[in-house]
Amino acid sequence: MSRIKKESLAPWQCQLAWGRTVGLALALCVSSCLSARLAHNHEFEEPRADGRLRPGSTGLEQCLAELGAPLLVREHLDGALLAWGWSDERAFGLNLSLPLDNFYSANLSYARSIDGLRGLVLFFDDAWRLKQMRRGYLAEILPDERTRPALVD
């Protein structure tokens, strides 16, 4: 039926019908009924720790050679802590907006993201010997800042 109808149409009529379809699709898009957002933020490279770092035996020199320069160095109890951090955030969002009445519209949005600075924290004693390692989200594995009282010379 539709084939017969198409064949009976002149080429300029086919083009006109196609143009109307595209026009309608563009009008829907321009009115921003549906929009999508895709984002990727990358910050610093993850250091390669090959499992050769052993608490109790590894020293600062080997840790620095394996992991490179840390993001953070801080005094911690009688020793120090060194932290490495990196992030690889990906986010995806969809937004659907439909006008319902003169003064009302429905809005539906969906967003998904994986974020946060991941990290590795190494704790050293006063002889720069590795005591402990922690891996996870930096905000969760970094201990509160606690320094000993300042020395009086």
């Binding site: 563009l26 898009c29 321009v30 549906l34 929009s35 999508a36 957002r37 895709l38 984002a39 990727h40 933020n41 990358h42 910050e43 610093f44 490279e45 600062l60 020199e61 620095l64 050679a65 490179g68 320069a69 840390p70 993001l71 160095v73 801080r74 005094e75 009688d78 120090a80 990906r90 006063d126 720069w128 000993r148 020395l151």
Partner: protein, 126 residues
């Protein structure tokens, strides 16, 4: 004729939707200058003379550590009618120098990655 016209129209439509930006913080670190500073021989004064004032000085009891850094952030965005894409990449040059209580250099570490920051859209790098 029609084909090339459509191509030009497509390019003209896409161009205003592109955003590129780059932010640099501090001067890039020089690997040769860093490697010339030898643990057990160089002092805090040598480090400052070679690299200038550090970004941060951390007191570690009687010892100390100096931080030097420089970063590059590159962002790219493509805003089409229906879809918005954004990609950001931040990389850093970092160097730490650890000193004993006599301000003698004991350890040093450097990671020079700022030049590897890249403009990448999410759909291209996944």
């Amino acid at each position: 004729m029609t084909k090339s016209l459509l191509t030009y129209c497509g390019i003209l439509l896409l161009l205003p939707a592109c955003v590129f930006s780059q932010a640099n913080r501090h001067q890039p670190l020089d690997r040769d200058l860093i490697e010339a500073l030898e643990p057990g021989q160089s002092t805090a004064q040598d480090v400052v003379r070679a690299l200038g004032a550090p970004t941060e000085v951390v007191q570690l009891g009687r010892r100390s550590a100096y931080r030097y850094d420089a970063s590059v952030s590159k962002n790219v965005g493509l805003f089409l009618i229906l879809v918005a894409l954004h990609g950001g990449d931040t990389q850093e040059d970092r160097a730490w120098f650890f000193f004993d209580e006599d301000e003698l250099l004991t350890h040093r570490a450097a990671t020079l990655a700022a030049k590897h920051a890249d403009f990448q859209l999410p759909v291209i790098d996944e």
